[in-house]
Amino acid sequence: MKKSLIKFYLFIVIILLSCDKDYLEEPKPTGTINSDAVFKSKESAEALISGILRLSRISYEKTDSAGLYSIFFARVVKGNDLILGNGWYLFDYENDNREPTYRRTTFTWEFPFTIINQINIFIDGVNNSEYLLDSEKQPLLGQAFALRAFYYFQLAMEFQHTFSFDPSLPAPPIYKEPANEGKAMSSLTELYNFILEDLNYAVQFTPETRINKSYVNRSVAFAISARVHQVMGNWQEAASMANNAKQGFEFNASEFKEGFDDMSNSEWIWAMPQQLDQSNYFDIAPHSFTDINSDGYGLAYWNRDFVALFSDTDVRNTFTNQFEGEEETRYNTWASTKFKFAFTSDIPIIRSVEMHLIEAEAKARLGDETEAANLLFELQKNRDVNAIPSGNIGELLIDEILIERRKELYGEMGVEWYDAKRLRLGISRTGNHRIKSAANLEPDDKKFFLKIPQKEIDANYLIDNSVNIDR
């Protein structure tokens, strides 16, 4: 009896000993990487850049709030050129989608800030890395600053009047590093200064080369700068940045026939790519919405007044009449084949033609009308073999450039809204629109920007409900 008792005690002791302290140490995370490892080498740091770029097209919330392209397409449908059927983006089309609790408002705020936080984590990690050389840090930081400037620029555009209206107005808060406590609103002046600071670094240190066109290189940094200066009205800088940006990206109009779905086209400076295992499925805009011949939403048609601007020989005339021979009163008369929808379609962010036209506009505004007219005709000739120079000067020349921007960029980045906002013009609905004057935008209309989301106000102790008073 005693003997067996001793044996059993030994047995228990063995069990107790076999589970030493390592028992709790052994489980380790798999599928995740800790911070130290990320900033140990250039390659692993670049993985975070790749992740951030992927985040820009991640099907974030819903079909109309899925990625960067959702912000752009919401701008597109606010204009006069596109007519939207009943469905996603409806309230953007009605220019009535800016209240603090609405999805558009929350998404357009949250999405850029989510990306900015990742960028700040990246900047912080690279700056503090003991492993990376300074010569490795600079190109990495250049990309990050360009991206941060780009997303802050979207916030500046979406949440206040344009810069030239009144630079002292409150603007979204500025985060230079990762934070878990909300900051107070900034001002448009502070925000634009911050954006320019980032861009100044980016145009100097971002490398020329890159993995593919979805990554940021110096051309992208120049292009973002060109847009920012264009909005601020810094025409000298806008002209030179735009000129720098377009270098090496030759005209190639073939995309209008091929469906704007391939970033290898030489005009594309920056793009969001897709492949079957990295698809946003039906969410991508404009393709899913403007291609009525595919399984996408196929909701969007084009204003007959806009279609009338194109000559028959213009390659950009991608419009077909759905009700040939009938009066053009139906909203769904004119469909376009500009964008071809597939789960693998690439989405353009910036093309060289836009840079070309920014340069033309800047030259015109700086008084160099000859150069401006030359630049304009250079493009017109490429798009339409029968094009002849208009001979316009002064305001007429500038108007012609703005129309050219619409004819070139329709569907892409919301050019009408963008120009109407920065130039403080309104937008009037004409032609065969479904929703007509009710959706008009007056010059400097408050409907050009959104209210501050309630969720931000609820969780940020430095922003209260008064931020939306009179907004």
Binding site: G31, T32, S50, I58, N86, Q118, K183, L276, Y297, F343
Partner: protein, 1034 residues
């Protein structure tokens, strides 16, 4: 399946053995060893019997294999199977001493020695209802527990909260223990007829042995075992039932009303918003009706004239509800169990088959659950046993909650009858494929007007999703649970238990290659196959000693626990027709997989001391180390103390006739909660899987708190248990107070930080309540018996500490002194009779930012002030009552459960009341009360086809959600003994079972059981089932 079943039955019938007579003898004595003269010894089922003599001796001749029954007045009966041994010295115990033995943490205790709060549901009450998931049987049976069965998919696990809600973002449900080991499988893998009892541990003294996992209560499920030295008993059961929706869904508009109403919405926009003349507004509405709705079921250009009246009749009027809902769902169940035991070995074998259909067509749950349990005395001092269970289940569950397009319930509530199921040509005629099959309409036909593009839900057809797609969940669950028990000394035992559990969960999803969302890519298969493995080892040394009036019982326990998940998934597209396995895919879309592990290391001690069976004291301690937290924060100590005073064993009460039992008890303890926070919640990491084309991509996960640690809960329990009037009235009353501190909470962060939340320990919440449980034997006569039971509890939830003034999270605002579940939202101020617009209240605030206390009405939703509504989503009063009765050969039992005082925010109703804000969305007949002309007094605003906030979140859609439900009604008839004997059976019972056959609810249109948060989510409803069945015992 069925055939196999009856084969077993028949073969068991054929087993017959002819046994010789043997002479059995022995002594019968009481619990103190004093012989009992005149005790009766009877061969069961016969008249063969004798009595013991003055010294307790007896002698009887019986056939080998028969059962002997020993009885004596005032003492409990005992039975023995006559085997090899012919001597039975029997000890009989007084009736009240042989009382219920209750399964508690790491062992069993008699009811009398329990100082904590443990409630037990026996197998008899479990079997009076249908509990496809075993924990459903707790609903309405035990006070202090709030159970919600969300949705109508059979096999769905209920939400269970014991004594209020003590956790917010960490797991707030109780820990589940099955046969001593923590259970990580799906609860629906346990067949209800194989369960012997469910113990619900509610207070600290009963749960503290589970330390870091016990704070939210523990449910212990014990499966059936055989009994040594008993005759083998075989029982069979079968039932067949038919089910339909238990509570009605919301009512809906038909096509004609929908069309006219939509016209009105359009007209109103042109009239009031766009300031057109009434004539022009009406013209525009008539002109644009068809283009807005995208379809034209009326075939004429302007189906509605300028007066707003229909001028044509529709070519279809779709009844989506009827198309999608299964109005005659089938349910079938068969079970067999065999149990018994020889002198040293006992066994139980059970196998059960169930197939049950749900509310939405093609929804079903099918399960085969088998269990074998053997316990044996290997040597005099060594006992061992093994419990094996294997369950295989299959569940097809088309989406029926949430906001996916294919959610068939949302579909019913979203798509007007205006849109057809099958495609039509421009003349409105049905189109066929190959001249026979109709083609489902997916709402995206650009070049047609009769059957064009739907403004909402284009590219989908929920009926198509049900019949063409599959969402199939297959679970395989196996568990092996064995023990080895040594008797080291007379009073010292060592028990080593090891449990291994493996659940394989296969989720298969097929999206059709021809129709719906994946048609563009020729179909999609996504499949995940995950393994969940639990290994649990428990070593226990227990010591028990009685010294006169003192008795002491101690346990020292060492436990290790490991849980591992091994996940794998794959997704591919491009399938040929009729092929839906991954290898048929032409383009792989994604793959995924990961392995995560959690461990827990614990040392546990318990001591229970009892003096003269009057005073009982118990103390427990547990120290846990968890791999979920950082090295600095991972160890925690938990304890409890409790005591009871059995007044009825005191001499001054012992003589009071009508008091049979009276016990006061109290306990206090501190526990933890580490569940539901993921595997490594304290590590700030980057997640892989965000590749950009062929470059690997990572992203930083949300902010974490590196010092995150357990939630801690302090529980106090005070109670009294009583039995009066010869145990005819039994009951208990208990008060609890449960304060949880350092709550693990996803604290909302400013969106501009790029993080939505950070998981951290903040604040404290207190739950307190009173629980009552009564059971009365109203009538007990030879042929008629009636028992009534009632239990209920009042529970209160209060935030006692926050690290900041307040949080707003959705429609709840948290402040000290308020409930976690009180709704916080704008208050509806009705409809302006002048213009028909919805209004809300708004506080007047002075320029200095001071609230004057006055309120005005506003039509700007963004200006509306959000208020505490005084209404909570958790009930203040829940419980159940039961009736058990028998009359001659009939028996009847009914179990009701009820819930009062909770409110529900019915967002489904809100969306049906949208007033045609968007085209192509269904409406509710209540819309007929809308404002139409200045001066109309109504609470339904005008129809307005344009973005508005009329149906935005406000008290307009906050409803009281009280309900009483007849969960189970069981009426049975037992065949008379003569007949049974003739048939050579032990028992034959035929029964009717009704589940959920009656529901009273204060807010109709939904299932009253929704979610703790009080939000509806387009969920399917529970089913009411009528079944007929038989029980046979051989």
């Amino acid at each position: 399946m069925k055939v196999a079943f009856y084969c077993i039955v028949i073969s068991l019938f054929l087993i017959q053995s002819i046994n010789a007579q043997v002479l059995v003898k022995g002594v019968i004595s009481d619990e103190t060893g004093i012989p009992l003269p005149g005790a009766s010894i009877v061969e069961k089922g016969t008249v063969n019997g004798v009595s013991s003599d003055f010294d307790g001796n007896y002698m009887i001749e019986v056939p080998k294999g028969s059962t002997l029954e020993f009885s004596f007045i005032g003492y409990g009966k005992q039975t023995f199977l006559v085997g090899e041994s012919t001597t039975f010295n029997v000890t009989l115990y007084p009736d009240n001493e042989l009382e219920e033995v209750v399964v508690v943490a790491f062992g069993k205790q008699t009811k009398e020695t329990i100082v904590g709060s443990v409630a037990v549901i026996s197998s008899e009450s479990i079997n009076k209802q249908s509990a496809t998931t075993i924990t459903q049987a707790i609903q309405g049976s035990i006070p202090g527990i709030n159970i919600i069965n969300p949705g109508g998919i059979p096999g769905t696990n209920p939400t269970i909260r014991i004594r209020g809600i003590g956790s917010i973002n960490a797991e707030a449900s109780p820990l589940i223990i099955v046969d001593g080991a923590p259970f990580n499988g799906n609860l629906n893998s346990i067949a209800q007829e194989q369960v012997a009892s469910i113990s619900v541990l509610k207070d600290a003294s009963s749960t503290s042995l589970y330390g870091s996992r016990g704070a939210n209560g523990v449910i212990i499920i014990s499966t059936k075992s055989g009994t040594k030295s008993t005759e083998t008993s075989i029982s069979l059961s079968s039932s067949y039932g038919s089910s339909s929706i238990a509570t009605p869904m919301h009512r809906l508009l038909d096509i004609n009303r929908y069309t006219e109403y939509f016209w009105e919405g359009y007209r109103n926009r042109e009239l009031y918003e766009n300031n057109n003349s009434p004539e022009l507004a009406a013209t525009l509405a008539s002109d644009n009706l068809v283009s807005s709705l995208g379809y034209n079921p009326y075939g004429v250009d302007q189906p509605v004239n300028k007066e707003g009246k229909l001028v044509a009749s529709p070519m279809w009027n779709t009844d989506w509800k009827k198309t999608i809902i299964n109005e005659n769902a089938y349910k079938v169940q068969h079970g067999i169990s065999v149990s018994g035991g020889a002198e040293k070995t006992s066994f139980y074998f059970g196998s059960n088959y169930l197939r049950e259909e749900g509310q939405v067509k093609t929804t079903y749950f099918e399960r085969v659950a088998t269990r074998l349990k053997v316990d044996t005395q290997v040597r005099e001092l060594i006992e061992t046993g093994l419990n094996i269970s294997y369950t295989s289940s299959k569940q097809n569950s088309p989406n029926q909650s949430g906001s996916a397009f294919s959610n068939s319930i949302q579909w019913i509530y979203s798509l007007p009858s205006y849109y057809p199921i099958y495609r039509r040509n421009n003349n409105g005629e049905l189109i066929t494929q190959n001249g026979k099959d109709f083609i489902l309409d997916y709402g995206g036909n650009n070049l047609q007007t009769v059957n064009g593009v739907r403004p909402a839900f284009s590219g989908e057809n929920a009926y198509g999703a049900i019949i063409n797609n599959q969402i199939l969940n297959r679970n395989n669950y196996i568990s092996l649970n064995g023990y080895l028990k040594f008797k080291l000394l007379e009073n010292l035992n060592f028990n080593s238990q090891f449990a291994y559990e493996n659940a394989t969960v296969d989720n298969f999803r097929f999206d059709n290659n021809e129709f719906g969302a994946a048609a563009t890519v020729d179909g999609r298969v996504s499949q995940s196959r995950n393994f969940f493995t639990t290994k649990n080892a428990i070593q226990t040394i227990s010591f028990e000693k009685n010294l006169g009036a003192h008795s002491i019982k101690t346990d020292a326990i060492f436990e290790t626990y490991e849980f591992e998940e091994n996940l794998m998934s794959a997704q591919g597209t491009g399938f040929l027709p009729n092929i839906n396995v991954l290898s048929g895919s032409t383009s792989p879309e994604s793959v995924g997989g990961s392995i995560n592990k959690e461990r827990l290391l614990s040392i546990i001690g318990r001591i229970n001391y009892s003096f003269n069976r009057k005073f009982i004291l118990e103390g427990s301690f547990r120290r846990d180390g968890s791999s979920k937290f950082s090295r600095e924060t991972r160890w925690g100590s938990f304890f409890s103390v409790g005591g009871s005073w059995v007044l009825s064993n005191e001499s001054f009460i012992k003589n009071v006739d009508w008091i049979n039992n009276l016990k006061l008890k109290a306990s206090y303890g501190e526990l933890g909660n580490n569940r539901g926070v993921g595997f490594f919640p304290y590590l700030q990491v980057f997640e892989t899987g965000f590749s950009q084309l062929n470059k690997p991509g990572i992203l930083s996960l949300e902010f974490v708190d590196p010092n995150l640690s357990w939630e801690k809960t302090a529980l106090t329990n005070i109670g009294v248990e009583f039995s009066f009037f010869e145990n005819r009235i039994n009951g208990s009353v208990e008060y609890y107070n449960k304060e949880s501190i350092d709550l693990i909470y996803d604290q909302p962060l400013a969106l501009s930080t790029g993080n939505e939340v950070v998981k951290t320990n903040v604040g404290a919440v207190k739950n307190s309540g009173l629980e009552f449980s009564f059971d009365t034997n109203v009538l007990k006569q030879d042929s008629f018996e009636l028992n009534l039971g009632l239990n209920f509890s009042f529970d209160k939830n209060e935030i006692t500490e926050l690290t900041q003034d307040e949080f707003i999270d959705g429609n709840k605002k948290w402040q000290v002194g308020k409930s976690l579940f009180e709704f916080f939202m704008p208050k509806s101020a009705g409809v302006d009779f002048r213009d028909g617009y919805q209004m809300w209240f708004k506080d007047i605030v002075t320029d200095q930012g001071v609230r004057t206390g006055e309120q005005i009405k506003t039509k700007e939703y963004s200006e509306a002030t959000r208020y505490y509504t005084g209404k909570s989503s958790i009930p203040s009063f829940v419980g159940g009552f039961s009736i058990n009765s028998s009359f001659k050969n009939f028996d009847l039992s009914a179990l009701f459960n009820f819930s009062f005082g909770s409110y529900i925010y019915d967002s489904v109703y809100a969306s049906l009341m949208n007033g045609f804000e968007r085209a192509g969305r269904q409406g509710h007949p209540d819309l007929e009360k809308r404002w139409q002309n200045p001066g109309d007094l109504t609470d339904v605003p005008l129809f307005l086809n344009g973005q508005n906030d009329f149906n935005s979140e406000s008290t307009r859609f906050l409803f009281k959600n009280d309900y009483i439900r007849l969960r189970g009604l069981n009426i049975g008839y037992n065949l008379s003994e003569n007949l049974i004997d003739k048939l050579n059976l032990e028992k034959f019972r035929i029964f009717f079972q009704g589940d959920n056959i009656f529901t009273y609810q204060s807010h109709r249109g939904i299932d009253p059981e929704q979610a703790l948060s009080g939000l509806t989510d387009n969920r399917s409803h529970q089913m009411k089932t009528y079944s007929l069945g038989i029980n046979l015992q051989l």
